[in-house]
């Protein structure tokens, strides 16, 4: 059995276990604290209702909807398999729309915002960080403090500042929405242009903060690697500088992938709040509206999808990491 395969199996097992526990938390936390979710919901909905018969009917309906008439382990099984069946219940706020239907409409917007932003921010940050460490001088002295300032500001605070500067004061970009009001979602040039214009500010607020954070990390790692013995030795051996830089970059980049895995949750959560600032119609805004309307099935559907997405992306990143890291291919299969 190859080392990489062993690494893969170990990671796979670990993530499967985490996956089950994550879904269990999504299932259990609201139930543990609240007792019976139906009671809470009914207490809110039935305020002011006098007809006891219709209250009773609604109660029974909800009881069936949540499968509360079943024993707890069957409820959990139903909830768990619901993730795979694509059944997350019915929304209260937008009754009788299915939660999965609402999420299916919002998710592409969130992915279109976050995926390119995270990749661009990570790549640019690493390139700039390595460059700053290698070139030093003015570049390092100017860029580094700026990166430090930007990266210490959270995305959503940064998006508020961008919103103010570029949408309110300068009026270059729209203040809210994902495309111009009254437009139909279609594959046409005016629509795409409008979507890009609405996409720019939220995209920038994620990218810039990512560049700052990643750049600082990469700069530190590169400085550490540049001072390592193997670099000095390679220089003495007369190995071409471009080749040495390649080694340095690869070694410095590996921890950056782990860093991305560890910070993915924070990054995605920050991105969701950024959506709220711009009323961008992704998952973040759906969650915001759901919380406003106390739409419990929709909130827990959103948290579940976000958790699953983060788990899958972290798993993929770990798999790529194992593929790039020569040490895993060579000998060690230890946890990183």
């Amino acid at each position: 059995m190859s080392n990489y395969f062993k690494y893969f199996l170990k990671k796979f097992g670990w993530y499967m276990l985490t996956f089950v526990i994550a879904i269990a938390l999504n299932f259990a936390l609201p139930r543990l604290i609240d007792g019976n979710p139906v009671d809470t919901i009914m207490a809110r909905i039935s305020k002011g209702m006098t007809d006891s018969n219709s209250i009773k009917n609604m109660y029974d309906n909800f009881l069936r909807e949540f499968r509360l008439d079943l024993p707890i382990w069957q409820q959990f099984l139903y909830y768990f398999t619901g993730v795979f069946r694509g059944d997350l219940g019915t929304s209260f706020g937008q009754y009788p729309r299915e939660v999965t239907d609402i999420i299916r409409n919002a998710l592409p917007w969130t992915i279109a915002l976050q995926l390119p932003a995270i990749i661009t921010g990570w790549l640019l940050g690493n390139i700039l960080g390595a460059f700053a460490a290698y070139k030093k001088g003015v570049f390092d002295k100017v860029i580094f403090p700026m990166a430090l300032f930007i990266s210490s500001i959270p995305f959503f605070i940064f998006s508020i500042l961008l919103l103010y500067g570029f949408a309110i004061v300068a009026e270059i970009f729209p203040t809210s929405g994902s495309y111009a009001y009254g437009m139909d979602i279609e594959f046409s040039i005016p629509f795409i242009l409008s979507a890009i214009r609405h996409h720019t500010l939220p995209f920038l607020s994620i990218v810039l903060v990512m560049i700052g954070g990643q750049g600082i990390g990469m700069r530190e790692m590169s400085i550490y690697e540049l001072n390592a013995d193997y670099v000095k030795y390679s220089k003495l051996m007369g190995i071409r500088e471009s080749k040495i830089i390649k080694y340095v970059f690869r070694n410095a980049m590996l921890p950056q992938i782990t860093g991305l895995v560890l910070s993915l949750g924070t990054v995605i959560a920050g991105g969701l709040i950024t959506e709220i600032v711009f009323s961008y119609q992704g998952l973040g805004t759906v969650m915001f509206e759901a919380i406003r309307g106390r739409d419990y099935p929709l909130i827990s559907g959103c948290t579940l999808i976000v958790t699953v997405t983060i788990l899958i992306s972290s798993f993929l990143l770990d798999i790529i990491y194992g593929f790039i890291d020569p040490r895993i291919k060579a000998a060690q299969t230890e946890d990183n």
Binding site: P154, L161, I276, V306, I310
Partner: protein, 275 residues
Amino acid sequence: MIKTLKSSRKFMIGFIILGIILSFTLLYPILDGGDPFEMDGMRFQPPNAEYKLGTDNFGRDVLLELSHAARTSLYVGALSGVIAIIIGLIVGLFAGYVGGLLDEILTFITNMFTIIPPFIILILISMSIDSRGAWLTAMVIGFTSWPWTARAVRAQATSLRNRDHIYIAKISGFSVAKIILLEILPYVASYVVMAFIIQLASGILQESAISMLGLGPTSGVSLGMMLNWSIMAEAPRIGAWWTFIPAAGIVGLVTFSLYLMNIGMDEIFNPKLRS
């Protein structure tokens, strides 16, 4: 030690910014003496002589609200930071020093709660509790944000485990708790202070994030709640910048000053980084 800290420019700049914000939150409410929730102005008045930072969508004095809000946010940050540090220390020290099976279990739990985003758990708990005070939000943030500290403390404790003075303590028959408390904790103390600063910053961030979603404290006012109200009232579209720029600015300034302090301390305690 205070002398060394004073010599670090980064630490001092951060410290001064934080000090200014802290004294604003402590002194301005006394100076003004008003009730931050009194709706005595008109809706969305721009800054003027009476209301230095205008009024919000409820016609309340933004500057006065801001001083109370920043105080709540700092309080939430500090309380959640203390909780996170205590849990992180206990988990990290035991995992790192005791090792073996205990280490594997604790590391598994720590890793799991870094991959399952704390923010999601924060939402799940907050949405289930109907009336939330600032302290409750702080507790929940503290209970979800310890893994970072635990990871770092564990790494430190592991490297200390095989030092001579630990062996001597072991031979002398010290208990595990005593060794951790007397022989390991002092070595990680400077690190703990730095980790606390980061936890404080992240606590303030988490509070503003969860409050912006609408799941923050249900009473009082915090910086995140001000941002939440402002966005719900569509202040950005109206152009009422004074209802969200100052609150966002304070969150940004506080976190920036805390990070500066952290870097300054890192350079002092970590001679490798000194330039």
